[in-house]
């Protein structure tokens, strides 16, 4: 199996705090890889490194065999043209309408006619169920609609690799299911490599070919969906069975914790 992305010995810090602790993983080409993990374990941080927004303390990130951590900004920009990214907060430009947001990467990187670009934009917006909202501004959309507009923008240049940071968070089940179908279509029809961070068990079972699970900055699982279901790792079982972390304090400890001692 060919790998689109390969991460070797990645260590990252925010200030002095170590976030990712020497992780290695590979993401197969043309497949959907889901990254799982508890809140705050470093999933978004990992994505920011994969697209070269942050420089790691140590380690290398190979995209199609080339290490992006040692690239100059201009080389990195060439690589980024093949990427699409949906940020966790959508990150639409508030000063531009939805249509202009989606058109922006196309206008910047191609010399297409305005009318062609408009057709492309309408197609992408239709794909995420936002046809007719092109003239709206991000502040006039709901959270879920912003997410979908962000997805349309990420797809604008038909990238080779697309990253989604929690695409279905805050969406109703029907729209979320539509999104899962869209992700399947991107893989099957457009042969994209897709990396999705998500917590939705339903959509993991539906879209994932390959699963990577992070816990407290380390990779605790990577393998296919079948392997995940068969895994006996206690953290994975807790995640799949939706169990709460049972930290049973005795009353005295609890008192100490809430008293801040």
């Amino acid at each position: 199996m060919e790998n689109a992305i390969e991460v070797v010995g990645l260590v990252t810090h925010y200030g002095d705090r170590e976030i990712l602790k020497n992780i290695s993983l590979s993401i197969p080409k043309g497949k959907t890889t889901v990254i799982l993990g508890g809140s705050g374990c470093g999933k978004s941080t990992l994505l920011r490194h994969l697209i070269g927004l942050l420089k790691p303390t140590r380690g290398s990130i190979l995209i199609n065999g080339r290490d992006i951590t040692v690239m100059k900004e201009s080389e990195l920009n060439e690589v980024r043209k093949k990427f699409g990214m949906l940020f966790q907060g959508a990150a639409l430009l508030n000063s531009l309408s939805i249509a202009d947001n989606v058109a922006l990467p196309v206008k910047e990187h191609t010399r297409l006619e305005d009318s062609t670009i408009q057709i492309m934009v309408r197609m992408k917006l239709d794909l995420v169920g936002l046809s007719g909202f092109g003239g709206f501004f991000p502040s006039q959309l709901s959270g879920g609609m912003k997410k979908r507009a962000g997805i349309a923008r990420a797809m604008a240049l038909d990238p080779e690799i697309i990253f989604f940071d929690e695409p279905s968070a805050g969406l109703d089940p029907v729209t979320a299911a539509g999104l899962d179908e869209l992700i399947l279509k991107l893989r099957d029809v457009f042969k994209m490599t897709i990396v999705v961070v998500t917590h939705e068990l339903m959509s993991i079972f539906m879209i994932a070919d390959y699963v990577i699970m992070l816990d407290a900055g380390s990779v605790i699982f990577s393998g296919t969906l079948e392997e995940l279901k068969a895994s006996g790792h206690p953290r994975i079982k807790m995640f799949l069975d939706r169990q709460a972390e049972n930290e049973n304090y005795n009353p005295e400890d609890y008192l100490k914790i809430i008293a801040g001692e």
């Binding site: 920011r48 060439e78 907060g89 430009l93 508030n94 910047e108």
Partner: protein, 252 residues
Amino acid sequence: MQIQKDINDASRVINDIFYWAFISPFKGRPIRIRASISEMVKAGYNSVPIVSVISLFIGIILALQAAYQLKRFGALVYVADLVGVSITRELGPIITAIIVSGRSGSAFAAEIGSMKAAEEVDALITMGINPVRFLVVPKLIALMVMVPALTVLSDFLGLFGGFLLSVTLLELHPVNYFQQTINALLVKDILTGLIKAWAFGIVITIVGAYHGFKVEGGAEEVGRHTTSSVVASIFLVIVFDLFFTALFYFFT
């Protein structure tokens, strides 16, 4: 350490701004004309009323203050010289720069800062769009054009304010006053004022952009950097004014 990092950040911002404004357009990455025009409207056109009113008042005040001294020597007609020279050489550019610092410098820092806080800047980078080229260069172009243009307006209204007061309260003859102003002013005076104004525009843009890009985190940071940006750009405008005035004094 902090200072070293600040200097480092500042020189990177300055470097980037000059590269994307003056070098990359010749390498086939054109400047965003339409965005520049919209920045000109925001920074320049919308400042016209406030610059006009303040300059007019300053002209009147200046004439009054000059008359207070000159009257004792019976040299009232020299009010025209004093007003003319101080407005064009000094007050026009500096008043304009201070107003633009307050209006546009703060707006630049707030706009870029909140985009940074909302990951919009990261989104631009991910799309392979340089945020300096996309956000800062249009503002730089706008201020390089608009601060001198507003200075011309300020000069004109300042002179007019002095004229108004002199022909009414001081009872100077309008034609005499006009003649006296024309004789007192050299092209050099107006030109050095405009050169200063152009430099102030660059200073204000750089300071606003620098503080905007320094924002990490949320709304509170945006507010803090907006304030710092106004204070810093007024301070630097005055420092540059001192520098240029000294330069012109010795070399013209």
